[in-house]
């Protein structure tokens, strides 16, 4: 069933740039749960929740959770096995 609330990883391009300091949408990440390597742009993103939730496009496991308040940002990347940072 189509899920119209789902975005792709381009939706977090700005947020990832802010968090990592480099353009990340073409960076490769590895899912800790299923081991699949993919680029950030192809991840599945839900942004209408109380925070941003990024999931593996293959096994749907949560890779990243980001919550932002007016003065703080919380990041949980524990669903990632690895992520490359372009230089």
């Amino acid at each position: 069933m189509a899920d119209e609330r789902r975005l792709d990883g381009n939706a977090i391009g700005g947020m990832m740039l802010e968090l990592f300091g480099v353009e990340m949408t073409n960076a490769t990440e590895v899912c800790r749960t299923c081991g699949t390597a993919d680029i950030v742009a192809r991840l599945e993103v839900y942004m209408d929740a109380p925070g941003t939730v990024v999931r593996c496009a293959h096994c749907k496991a949560v890779l990243m959770r980001v919550v932002r308040s007016p003065d703080r940002t919380w990041v949980d990347f524990s669903g990632l096995g690895s992520i490359e940072l372009p230089r």
Partner: protein, 199 residues
């Protein structure tokens, strides 16, 4: 006769503004917030389970629907700052469910299809404060709003009212759930604006 009587003004001051917690605004629609794909668990495969009691307790959909129900009309408050007044639900009270389980726990951790969790102190879900709701507005709860069944804890921010709930584990400790472990407040009282860690 004055156009605006004192009585009218008095009633106005007891109007909706007194029912909207600080920082919230009123909506008429029912926004959908999801942290993942909408599960579509068939009712024949659905169960509700309470773990952590003296004996594990589990109900099928038909067994769960045979439990005593209550109709609840209540205001709801989402941490993303919308509030909605006079929503009408039907479901099973947590008082009913916890009355069927022998335990000495102080907290629960709700679990859901899709992997979502949220934690609650039992004192905030007993004495008529929480339900497992399966009807909304007189109709079966739609999947996008958490159907077939969701938690309803209307006096706390609505992330505590977990969609697609499948049960909870009774615990001695207050274990942070999906949002509570990454920035959101451990309790989430909208009248105290307990949105984030440290609020």
């Amino acid at each position: 006769m004055p156009l605006i009587s004192r009585g009218f003004r008095g009633r106005q001051s007891e109007g909706p503004s007194d029912r909207i917690p600080p920082g919230q605004h009123l909506v008429d629609d029912f926004p959908v917030l999801s942290a993942g794909p909408t599960p579509h668990t068939p009712l024949e495969e659905w169960t509700f389970t309470i773990e952590g009691g003296a004996e594990p307790a589990s109900w099928t959909w038909d067994e769960f629907r045979a439990l005593p129900t209550e109709e609840v009309t209540t205001d709801i408050h989402c941490v993303t700052k919308w509030s909605k007044l006079d929503t009408v639900w039907r479901g099973v009270s947590l008082d009913t469910l916890l009355g069927l389980v022998e335990h000495d726990a102080g907290y629960l951790l709700a679990f859901c299809d899709g992997g979502y969790t949220t934690n609650l102190p039992l004192e905030h879900v007993t004495d008529g404060k929480a339900w497992i709701a399966y009807d909304y507005g007189g109709e079966p709860l739609e999947p996008e709003h958490g159907g077939p069944a969701r938690m309803l804890v209307p006096h706390l921010y609505f992330w505590k009212s977990a969609k697609w709930i499948r049960g909870f584990r009774l615990q001695e400790e207050d274990e942070p759930g999906f949002w509570e472990s990454n920035g959101y407040h451990i309790l989430g009282d909208p009248w105290l604006e307990q949105r984030y860690w440290g609020d």
